[in-house]
Amino acid sequence: MTLATLAMLAPRLAHEFPVADAAGPEWAAWILWLPALSTVLCGMCAALRVRNKLPAWITVSLLSGSFILTAMLFAGYEQPVTIHLVDWFGITWSDTTFVANFAFYVDRLTLLWMLFVTGLGTLIALYAGEYMEGDVGAGYSRFFAGISVFLFAMTALVMADNLLMLYLGWEGVGFASYWLIGYYYRKPSAVAAAKKAFIVNRIGDLGLALAVYLTWHAFGTVQYAELFAAVQANDFSAEAGGWSVQAIPFLLMLAAFGKSAQLPLYVWLPDAMEGPTPVSALIHAATMVTAGVFLLCRMFPLMVLNELALPVVAWVGGLTALFAASIAMAQHDIKRIFAYSTISQLGYMFLGVGLFTTAGAAYHVFTHAFFKAVLFLTAGAVMHGFAGQIDLRKVSGLRHMPGWRVTSYTMLYACMCLAGVPLVTNGFWSKDAIMAEAFAAVGPGYTALAIIALVTALLTAYYTFRVWFRVCAGPVHYEPGLEQHGDAAGGAFHPRPPRLVINLVLLTISAGAVASIFCAEWINGMIEGSTAAGGLPAVHEAHEGAGVWSDPHAWMPYVAGAVGLVGIAIAWYLHLANRTAADDLKRALQGNVVSAWLPRAMENKWYVDELYHGLIRAPLWLLGHILNLLDRYVLDMVIVDGVARIPRMLGRGFQPLANGVLQSYAVSMVGGVALIAILVFVMPEFLEMLNGWIGGAR
């Protein structure tokens, strides 16, 4: 980007969002310390081998404390503030100081994220208290310590007042995710999934780390308040006007795509479903995976420093949405379907950010957190009740079974939200905000992008209701999963319907989903007063034009609603009214030579895992082995040992001297003395020579 375009963007950058310059209340520090305390207490429970539900109650009570404090902070909010907790980094030299403390930067964006993170965190911990009861006395404390660590890290990530603390939270949530995905640590697939999640995330983390260094390099600070002030004042060093500042958006993107499972780094999220289902709901659906969106919103003033950056975000988001939806259509594992749908919905959020509608993206983050949490928690209830059964072909007619009404109908509502059923669902409104913008915005190939988004909405409605029609509707039949506990070992299997706590949590979060229908304006306000506000002027510019058909915002609700209903109708026909038709369709596709590859590729996730394995992992592994052999046999045994052998070979030349004959010893002694004498006399000369050779000019 040239300086001229930078100047063109300047008014947009100058769009005033208030930068914190006051100190906030000190009690807010407990929002971070309470989860930390909870971690320590759960750790003590593990060390003391507590054999009851104490860890769950500790976690729930402390996390709810964190939520209440967040709500209080929100209630008393007037302007952006910083809150200093404790010193962390502080390195001074000359007149420069590298500072990064444990401190909060609280603006509306922070509060928006913290409200749903701590709120849903508390509710899901409550749910997990019942869900994980089979592990009381075994991994129960470990589980809740992990949940607490996650909340600690997520709080650090969202509330940080500098990029290093954000990085701490960023890697911290990755670690918590590693911990909890690998919760069933004796299961090799769980261990592998945990490892994969951490390593793929680390690739993104490298991007974030480099972005932090670059920010320090270009702006001389990593603290938000100073950073945003510098951006608003266009006050960065001359060097920063060159490539360095413009690379920051792309590095941030890499980080965001890793954490939020976008192309090309999405591969860890489906495998992360190896973790216990409450973890999938909390970390891998509602909160942690939105950290990427948060990062871009927080750093939005820097994202606009390169005019190419946001179109790239939009395109990656749009393509990911379509790609993941296509995979979700062909999976049989309910949790994996929801995982791919999470990737797809995150794609919509990035699409929103890329289209400058940060408010739309944040709204979708907010609504998605509720309905996706419900989807996972209902899937968890099914797993809990059917001994780990998660294949949608093996459970049917759930809503007709006794005790499953709450689960079936909250799942129905959440499915409606995800499918975007008009008017009554929050997902309809938030997705609409983004898709309308896609048709309205002007940018490289944005019309195609808008059509992709629309097609994805159709696929989404289809695969979502495929699950519901298969599992909750239709004739009653079920097969238990493999995790049969002692009670069912002998006799016939009986499903265990969820009890009070799980139902209560499901209903509460569903109520939250209903409530969030009315939150659009509120979220607009929350974004407008925050660092993500840089995008808003562009949104308003795009509204120019007259007539119903020239303003996509006017007709989008009808089109999107219709598309969603069509998707549901297709799902109804194939998976409820005429279930054999789905198999017929698949058979027809497979029978045709031209199209046979399609269902197979979709079922096998487009072979992306295999591709990565073949192109990256296997060559590296091979290289590792080659280097290992090289190190051991060539470098060590040939070169090093070879050099060590030189003196011995030289020694062998003199070996005839040691022949045991007295005279020859005498001769060699004389020779030695002569040699020493020569050295003594010649040495000074030699040293002079050496000196001249080494010395050069002084």
């Binding site: 980094f89 390195i91 890697e171 490892k195 320090w216 592994w621 280097l627 002084r698």
Partner: protein, 537 residues
Amino acid sequence: MTWLWPALLLLVPLAGAVAIMFAPARQAKWIALLATTITFVHSVIVAVAFEHWHDGGFDLEAVVPSLGMESMGIAVRFGADSVSLLLVLLTTLLVPLCVWGSFSAISRRVKEYYGWLLVIEAAMVGVFLARDVIFFYVCFEFTLIPMYFLIAIWGSSNRSRACIKFFLFTFTGSLIALAGLLYVAWQYAEINAVFEPGGGSHLSWTFDIATLTSFAAGTLSASEQRWVLVALMAGFAVKVPLFPLHTWLPLAHTEAPAAGSVLLAGVLLKLGTYGLYRFVLPMVPVAVVEYAPVIAVISIIGILYAALICWVQDDLKRLVAYSSVSHLGFCVLGLVALNPLGAQGAVLYMINHGLSTGALFFLIGMIYERYHSRDMAELGGLAARMPVWGFFMVFFTLASVGLPGLNGFVSEMLCLIGTFTASATAEVYPGRLGPWYAAAAGVGMIFAAMYLLMMVGKVVFGPLKEPVVREPAQGRALPPDLCWREIGVLIPLAVLCLYLGFQPKPVTDAAAGSIETMLSAYPQEVRRYVARESADG
């Protein structure tokens, strides 16, 4: 008698070693524990009383009088600045833990074993406290002898090859380094030669490190500095070790007993980086500026090369040994960044690596004591059998991976940010590296996660897999999980890892003055070099 105060840090362990010689074998370990604990307490008192934590000055300066070498300029001269003292503290902390951690592992030739541990402590402390080149060198080389015996007597199957290679490799290297230092001393003696009235002259030798350092930096020509740099690097790069001079390390580590590995990784490798910090950087700034990119590239190759090798190891100790090669690459990178952030990172790295990798070697030793195996093909899922051990293993692995909140992150981040900002155009501290160096080294972060998580994934997690336990060498069997003594060895290290992760400021504050003194010549040298380059180009 002021010299006695620092000298006691060496003399107490030596006295302990002598006492062990005359004591019965079953008391050896208690004497060793007592002597090392006294030394630790003493070093803490010294640290508390130290007055130059913030200004980079030297304290504890004292010369042991009348040893008869004054005429040659050689003296047993003590002195410590904050960085030396931090490393002394690391040493005096690790050695008692090594002694305590060896209680059940060593049942053969007990007296000699603890004797050598005490001797090596004295030598290591001597290196960090020396302010005289000859004294430094003697201590530096003297660390080899106890380590040689620790490996040769209490090592595993391939120990004879390992200890010979270890000894010859490092000895040769340090001989060359000595030659470099002697050259500097000789030049000093010549230039400052005293002319006698009769027309003759005699050289005025000194081996005082401070004098020689300022002399070398100020007087030696660029070409001389280049040669001295090469000579010094030959000694210190072997110790660090930098690629491709590292091949002694995996062998020595795999064969050494647990405590030997801990000291090797924890302290002996730091002698190399400390040598860079104390000698190379201050002595030959012109040459360092010239060769900084070369050293950096070698470090980065080492980081990536060793990391990939780690990834395909089956032997736990070999894996962690190669990880040291990879990790210390970051440390050297931070040093040649030539700015305070990088140097702070490097100093912290020396301490942090000692804590976390030292702990990993302890943990592997504990496994080896129980199963007599370090083979990851034989061991698996040990968390099911040893949850406490599993907890510590994961904890220290994460410290090593560089998880923020633990110590490894702080030093790695500072080294990389120092490297990143060390571009020629930087304002206050220009350098010769830059973003691409940091980005390449940063790939090492991903590799580190790959091989370390592979390790815990196999050994700690997964289905339980235990080798057939052969009869333990010592009569009494250990409990399946860690006993209180073993937990006690690990807890101080774990606490420090956590503390330094959240509060690196005490260390960075302490090191700041010393670092600024050390780097004082560099901004100007770099600018001069860059100006000359652009004039030529």
